[in-house]
């Protein structure tokens, strides 16, 4: 059963003289436990599509339904709450809170969800251990490498027990070793805990690991292929 339904989604920017159709009539569905990559050249519309799936950007037309809820029918505050409870984000530039330690960064999401302290503590430690940072709980982002920071970001994205995780170019700033480590961690989490990951990327290493590859160009889906692993 699909957890995400994208129907006739378009996004047109009118900032320039000629309107730009960043996403143009996209229809997609994602099932629980998918490990999918949206690929395409720069400016193809993959990040815009991902942002709309994540409820960060409003479409010009069409809808995104997550578990039966049309996200863009929600009020602005309800949409923020919806994102908090259902969607995990991993950004290209890690975007951790620099004044908090790795543990506090992961806990922060659960604090926003008003989880109890004990539950929060146990989940944070287990998540950071699962991304191989059990020994760096009290390190601040500036004391961690890029790869380590991105692993904290993955742990943070999973902290809220989201329905799916959206990762926009998560490996763009990482070297090969860190990229492979991160992908392996996400693959294990996907396989063992059935966590749904959707990537927007043009990194072939990510594409190679994906079970489904959606190619987008000029805002349109060019191909949508399942890859057997």
């Amino acid at each position: 059963m699909s957890i995400i339904k994208v129907k006739n989604l378009t996004k047109t920017y009118h900032d320039t003289e000629v309107p730009v159709h960043a996403v143009n009539g996209v229809n997609l569905e994602f099932k629980k436990g998918e490990f999918s990559a949206i690929v395409g050249p720069s400016g193809s519309g993959k990040t815009t599509l991902l942002n709309m799936i994540g409820g960060l950007e409003h479409p010009s037309s069409g809808m995104v339904e997550v578990n039966g809820t049309d996200m863009f029918e929600l009020s602005s505050s309800a949409l923020i709450e919806f994102r908090l409870m259902n969607i995990g984000f991993v950004f290209q530039a890690y975007n951790l809170i620099p004044v908090l330690t790795a543990k506090e960064n992961v806990e922060f999401i659960m604090q926003l969800q008003n989880k109890d302290k004990k539950q929060m503590n146990e989940r944070t430690i287990s998540l950071l251990e699962s991304v191989g940072l059990g020994d760096r709980l009290n390190s601040r982002p500036n004391q961690l490498s890029g790869g380590q920071q991105q692993r904290v970001a993955v742990a943070r994205a999973l902290a809220s027990k989201p329905m799916f995780v959206l990762a926009d170019e998560p490996t763009a700033n990482l070297d090969s070793k860190a990229t492979m480590q991160l992908l392996e961690i996400m693959e294990v989490l996907n396989r063992e805990e059935n966590i749904t990951f959707i990537f927007a990327t043009h990194d072939q290493r990510v594409v190679d690991k994906a079970h489904r590859v959606i190619t987008i160009d000029d805002g349109k889906i060019i191909s949508d292929e399942s890859v057997s692993k």
Binding site: L56, S77, I80, R83, N95, L112, R156
Partner: protein, 408 residues
């Protein structure tokens, strides 16, 4: 708790900038509080000086005496009134005086004065004029010699007299006849009010009573010192009910400008602090706007991952308020130390002493500020911090998460 932690740590992200803001707030506080304490100290001293030298806390007069200083408008049964007053709770000291307008003359010059006839023993309990006589300038009726007079240094200079000189006082007696007598100078005082000094002379009650031909037990004024001058108004009303034949007035009625000085200083302090807080407020707004500009990407990320607008608003507000409060506390501690130090050693502006004394202020003043004023100021800074955080917080809420995350 997490928001408080983030807000606190965010303050120290840019140590230099936060230190500059803290320094600005603390300096503003020190400037405002110390100058307020200085003005307040001068005003307090002025008021207390008037209590000690001129008015006491409450005065009794014949209701018609104040109109034209008529020597026949007296208070009757003075002794029994004094006895009765002493037994009233809250009344500490009492004394009676007789007064007359006179012309003081020497071979060189003459001058209009108010003669105050005093009982030296009780006078010293109520008034501290005797402390204003320097060594070598005589005393305040320590001798039993008749017709002795205590005058001020300023009047002595005007009349060109010194200790043991004679002054002729001419005035109207109780029967309306012009009379006069010679008095020998036995003491020369100097207070902080040179105008009052020039127009007031002191003689013994018995000497003046004799020349005035004033019957025993009549007086023109009863001066009362109570335990708390702040309740002089209420006490005066109670005494007025007990002694309906006299007019009882508290110090604010006798010298309305004295209470005005206190109120005026409070207003001045308020205006002064308002200007400082306004300037600080704009400084804080500017700093926080810079902070938001710098953290656009971070704020966008927080919005994206699900931090509500109210929490973002609270986080920025907490950071602003913490910064403001910290600056205020540092400023208040420094102010407190400075005020306590100068409050004990005093600030002497000798170069301005003549000007200050001509309007009743001492050249040495002792800064003082009640503790509740610090609390008040802390509250005001807190309000300033909250107000100053509204605009930057509002700006933060207007950020679009996607655009903010793209910001480099």
């Amino acid at each position: 708790m997490m928001l408080l932690k983030i807000a606190w740590r965010n303050i120290w992200r840019s140590k230099l900038r936060s230190s500059v803001v803290l320094l600005a707030i603390a300096s503003g506080m020190v400037g405002g509080l110390f100058s307020s304490a200085w003005m307040n100290g001068m005003a307090n001293q002025r008021v207390r000086n008037d209590f000690d030298i001129e008015t006491a806390h409450i005065q009794f007069h014949n209701p018609q005496f104040a109109d034209n200083f008529d020597v026949r408008k007296t208070i009757s049964n003075t002794d029994s009134k004094l006895r009765e007053l002493k037994n009233i709770e809250g009344v500490e000291y009492v004394t009676s005086r007789i007064k007359s307008q006179a012309m003081a003359a020497t071979a060189n010059k003459n001058s209009g004065v108010t003669i105050v006839g005093v009982n030296p023993k009780t006078e010293k309990e109520v008034f501290k004029l005797y402390t204003k006589i320097n060594e070598g300038d005589g005393d305040f009726f320590e001798t039993k010699k008749r017709n002795s007079i205590v005058i001020s240094k300023a009047l002595a200079k005007d009349l060109k007299v010194k200790l043991k000189s004679k002054i002729i006082l001419t005035f109207q007696d109780y029967n309306g006849e012009i009379t006069g007598a010679a008095f020998k100078v036995i003491g020369i005082f100097k207070t902080q009010n040179s105008q009052w000094d020039k127009t007031t002379v002191f003689v013994k009650d018995a000497d003046l009573r004799k020349v005035l031909d004033l019957p025993t037990d009549l007086s023109h004024e009863i001066d009362i010192v109570i335990t708390d001058f702040n309740i002089a108004g209420e006490t005066s009303k109670i005494l007025q009910d007990k002694f309906p034949d006299i007019l009882s007035e508290d110090w604010t009625e006798i010298k309305p400008y004295l209470s005005f000085i206190s109120e005026y200083m409070d207003i001045m302090m308020g205006v002064f602090m308002l200007i400082i807080l306004l300037a600080l407020g704009f400084g804080i707004v500017n700093t926080m706007l810079m902070v938001i500009l710098e953290r656009t990407r971070e704020l966008g990320m927080l919005m994206a991952i699900g931090m509500s607008k109210s929490r973002i608003f609270k986080m920025i507000m907490l950071e602003t308020v913490l910064l403001s409060l910290l600056g205020a506390i540092i400023g208040e501690i420094i102010s407190m130390l400075l005020i306590n130090y100068y409050g004990s050693v005093g600030i002497n502006i000798a170069s301005m002493s003549e000007g200050l004394e001509s309007v009743g202020y001492a050249a040495t003043s002792y800064p003082a500020l009640e503790f509740y004023k610090y609390i008040e100021i802390t509250g005001l800074v807190l309000i300033t911090g909250v107000l100053a955080s509204i605009y930057p917080s509002f700006k933060a809420l207007q950020l679009n998460p996607v655009e903010a995350i793209r910001t480099i």
